[in-house]
């Protein structure tokens, strides 16, 4: 049974959830409850919070996320190949070289475009 193998994972995930619930309930029971506006305000090194925290941030982060998706998908394709590379022998190896060569072109392109320069 292949699906039965996944049952322990499901149990572990729910166990971790229950454990977290117990911990946070415990702190609700044992901890004091004396909120005041000062205490509940956002921490900004002792200053009055200026504007909201959800401001704009550098576009570099979006770029990194996008490049990550591209390369990660390539790697997802590499995994099944890696598991059977012995049986595929030279044919599979050359196929993969072509695949990586295409990837390399893209890599050189983003390198030349300066997408990986962070300043």
């Amino acid at each position: 049974m292949v699906l039965l193998d996944y049952v322990p994972i499901f149990i572990m995930v729910s166990l971790a959830g229950i454990f977290g619930l117990v911990l946070s309930k415990a702190s609700e029971i044992f901890g004091p409850k004396k909120p005041n506006p000062e205490k509940l305000s956002t921490y900004e090194s002792g200053m009055q919070p200026i504007r909201t925290a959800r401001e704009r941030f550098s576009v570099k982060f979006y770029l990194v996320a996008m490049l990550f998706i591209l390369f990660d998908v390539e790697i997802v394709f590499l995994y099944p190949w890696a598991a059977v590379v012995r049986e595929l022998r030279l044919f599979g190896f050359i196929e993969m070289l072509i695949f990586v060569a295409v990837l390399l072109v893209g890599y050189v392109y983003i390198l030349k475009k300066g997408a990986l320069r962070w300043d």
């Binding site: 193998d5 977290g20 901890g31 409850k33 190896f93 962070w118």
Partner: protein, 340 residues
Amino acid sequence: MESIQAILNNPYVFAALMALAPLLWILPYALFAIWFERKVSAHMQDRLGPMRTGGWHGWSQSIADLVKLLLKEDLIPAKSKHGLFMLAPYVVFVGSYAAYAVIPFTSAYVGSEINVGIFYFVAVSSLVVVGILMGAWSSNNKWSLFGAMRSAAQIVSYEIPGTLAILAVVMVVGSLSLQDIVRAQEGWFWNWFVFGKFPFLFIAFLIYFLCSLAEVNRTPFDIPEAESELVAGYHTEYSGMRFAMFYLAEYANMFAVSAVAVTLFFGGWQSPFGTFLSGPAWGVFWFLSKGMGFIFLQMWLRWTLPRLRVDQLMYVNWKVLMPFAFVNIIFVGLWMMIAQ
């Protein structure tokens, strides 16, 4: 007695007990590691560290800390998104605990014997990013959001060379199951992949280890929680037990990546001396001691190396580690073709 036997024979009850086992390791380990880290850092800086609590070298310091956190007020900032704020620690902890499902503690025990083992590990361990972003964005705090953006960028970038380094091992073994990978390293310690397939898998190990440090936000890659500029990073607004859950997840992750490094490159539960001192019980001993060795290495690095800047961090990943990882798998492929 027979009824207990009958209950234990039920596969679901058995699976539930098996699922509990890693938690029974993580909790004492995390308490020990927090105390140990303080002692290691202290001795490296020529101090003594905690000495009072409990008597001998302050051994019960982390238990006292735990009790203190339990008695703290559970604050939820007024301007936060309450639902997401409360959910985030669960996501982080569930992500790090679910990763333990495929780690083989010994020849007889692995949480779940799925055939995509290492692939599942890579997928689930990046769930932590979701929790970190969730907690930071919902806190409505600038320090938190900066920390989480850095953390997300760092974790996802370093995942690429890390996964490529794992790929080299998968190519050599021809299986994604962690138990198969451990069995392929049978015998004396020179059969372990880090020594046995020199230099390809040694390079893969170095790349994987660096990336695993970045993935658990350890120094030199700890800019997400750089305390000198970002207060505490993504968990600035958390207090009490919710904060403790982030902390627990962090230490659980440290052991998880160490355990995978041990499994892939250092023979997992195999004894270093062939069949001497081997067996399921000794397997647990060898596995945990190798894992703790890596934990010590991580602490050692933390208190030795300075922190990288964010541009240096990206440079190391995209322009140094990634080309190396790609060239490495091509060389592993070439070498396998020639060896056949």
